[in-house]
Assembly symmetry: C2
């Protein structure tokens, strides 16, 4: 475990310094090896919290660097999400599309869900063909795969055809294996615990 | 696995509808039970990507709902991070503090790191005492615990004393057990794969 913050001594400080010198050498060498730059495909999956919010945090980062961002939300949940309210402030920088028809257990209409998934993907393809867009965020796309509303191979073909420098981040539980295989960076957000389990309702600024 | 998107039939659609009706009943009951509303303590830990970006996505959400946000970054990395460049656009809504002294393997100076961690925590405490701030983001705070730069018990006491409606999100690898215990929602971002492993360097809009 950690030492207490006040336990400092010349010996301990020197041990720390020597350890960090070694660590820095290892890390610097790894950074020097990693020189490739290209548009990445990132996948945020798993049952924990943070998949979509992390993608929106990347959108904020990208905007900070002057990039343009495209968003397609494949699940139309509540209309007043914080992310939508916020990123719609910047219409010249963010193309924001809320598509889909709500969570499928709300609609209970498979035929309509199939149609709206296809329409949402058509909008995504427009973004994936626009070299001016540096980051494309496909929020809850994995849910469309889970219900068989979109064909993974077709989606992967469209992703592969995007501009070379364009980043894409896909979110949602249950990323299909072929998407994980194709991705550059994959994070599984795993649930350690969630306030909902303790009877706390979804709150603004946190879940939406 | 998923069926192909075009395999639709009246029987299949009806099975789908019946399954979703049952699912909706279960989910609606769970939502009805979760009625508590209060400021949450969230922890993003693990070795995967997405801990800080998810916290910044929550900041965007909170701003969308008209909340004010306070940020303390406990590690001073590169100066031109996208999150800093972006969120500093909104000085009336975001109090943004970059503290700390870089990754400890860069500084190699434990005494100085201790001092800068204490100074960063003093700034965090100001935010934690301000009821006008709806979300406090303590980025890479866990790194300070890992190196023994801050006392977990003192930090937890300060967190416990914050305004009742204020949310706090803490990021960083290796969250200490006492922090996990105290938290309402904990996500472990686990690494499935990372582009860095394939020789891709950290890129703007993605890692910074």
């Amino acid at each position: 475990m950690t030492d207490s913050p006040d336990s400092t001594s010349p010996e301990r400080d020197e041990r720390h310094r020597a350890r960090m010198v070694r660590k820095k050498a290892v890390i610097d060498a790894r950074i020097a090896e990693a020189q490739d730059e290209r548009g990445l495909l990132l996948v945020h999956t798993g049952i924990g919290k943070g998949k979509s919010s992390s993608a929106f945090g990347m959108a904020a980062r990208a905007l900070g660097h002057g990039m343009k961002v495209g968003v397609v939300q494949f699940i139309k949940g509540r209309r007043d999400t914080g992310e939508q309210l916020f990123f719609r402030r910047f219409p010249d920088e963010v193309r924001y599309h809320v598509m889909g028809e709500g969570f499928t257990w709300d609609t209970q209409d498979r035929a309509r869900d199939l149609q709206s998934a296809a329409a949402a993907w058509a909008v995504a393809v427009e973004l994936l063909r626009d070299p001016a867009i540096g980051l494309v965020l496909l929020d809850e796309l994995n849910i469309a795969f889970k219900h068989g509303y979109l064909d993974v191979d077709q989606v992967l073909a469209d992703l592969a055809g995007r501009p070379a420098h364009q980043h894409v981040v896909v979110t949602g539980r249950g990323a299909p294996p072929a998407l994980v295989e194709a991705a550059d960076t994959v994070t599984d957000m795993s649930l350690v615990k969630h306030a909902f389990q303790a009877g706390v309702r979804a709150q603004q600024g946190i879940e939406w």
